[in-house]
Subunit: 185 residues, 2 copies
DNA sequence: CTGATCATGTAATTCGTTACATGATTCC
DNA sequence: GGAATCATGTAACGAATTACATGATCAG
């Protein structure tokens, strides 16, 4: 592995066309963020590293006097992106879920306390789900006007995923109520 | 938020009884790791911080001359754990999934290349699933002999989760085959 | 004219992994 | 005797967030 994952987020985004660091961050925040986030503190330094490596090319274009540097992929950048997309290096997969962590240790709680936590967790995933549903029509329209189908597919995945989490919360809550034995803290 | 999540992993583990840093790491690796990992580089320093803060108490007990320091919860540690378990501070939730990231950018690939990547992803989740199923009987036995029900519940969650991911991969692959239009790179 | 948005960047800090060093004991 | 496991720890590095600083333009 040569480049960071964030580098690929940038290369992938630039493949859609010329973008500034700010543009990239905005796009990430409504798309890949749900399975790969990135902050300014990563994006700007990474853009410069990529430029130095010849994978992207930045062009100062002060629009109406506003300082601005838009980047685009070079052929080498395109090659690097493609190589990553088809490579079979081990995939980074990581979940950090504080709600599940709490649940794991919830034998220290009363059934009522545990149930309250599960309800909170479900509410949280419902919130994320509705956030994704807000983006959905926009993504669908984008797909119909263009030819990109995977952004919508990943969004649909995200929606199904949150729904799965919600369903699981419901089931766990029911099981808690069912297993009605005294289980004080 | 005062303590790191890793601190709570430690406190939660110690609630099960006296443990060394090595014990904690071994337990984490077969349990919480799937939604919260921890390395020696975190565990040992954190144990000392927690001891300094009075939340755990370490006791040198050289077993047969082997250097060893086993920790246990203090009443304050127990309180801190409980406070976290019932708190409604925002929950850390984060997914980093390189496979989905690749998929998101897969419009740069031919249908065949994209399908191959999805198959790889499915295989990967199948591998994790079988790993979890290996642990399952052990966890089930543990539950039956003791009174802890949440560790098994979270493991079952993990199994359902991997199954969900596998199913989604299958569906996406089928959709790729169905949408049979020429979509060269 | 004022708040939102566009736009770029850095510094400090936190978080976490990996690799290394060390050494005892237990099981085969 | 040798490999696996028990056991503790540190140093170097990398990844990522947060907060800050700065300033222009645009929409109402």
């Amino acid at each position: 592995m040569e480049l960071s994952k964030t580098a690929y987020v940038i290369l992938g985004t630039l493949r859609l066309g010329q973008r500034t660091g700010y543009d990239i961050k905005s796009l990430v925040d409504v798309s890949t963020r749900f399975f790969w986030a990135a902050s300014y503190g990563q994006i700007y330094p990474e853009l410069r590293r990529l430029e130095k490596a010849g994978l992207v090319k930045g062009e100062r274009d002060p629009q109406n006097g506003r300082r601005r540097k838009a980047y685009e992929l070079t052929p080498e950048g395109e090659r690097a992106l493609h190589a990553w997309l088809v490579s079979d290096d081990p995939l980074h997969f990581e979940l950090r879920h504080e709600g599940l962590l709490k649940l794991f240790f919830s034998d220290a709680l009363s059934s009522e306390e545990a149930a309250a936590q599960i309800r909170r967790l479900r509410a949280e995933h419902e919130r994320i789900l509705s956030e994704l549903r807000t983006i959905e029509p926009h993504a669908r329209a984008k797909q119909e006007e263009g030819d990109k189908r995977f952004p919508l597919m990943t969004l649909e995945f995200g929606i199904a995923y949150q729904q799965f989490l919600i369903d699981y919360c419901s089931e766990m809550e029911q099981r808690l109520v069912a297993g009605t034995g005294a289980s004080g803290s």
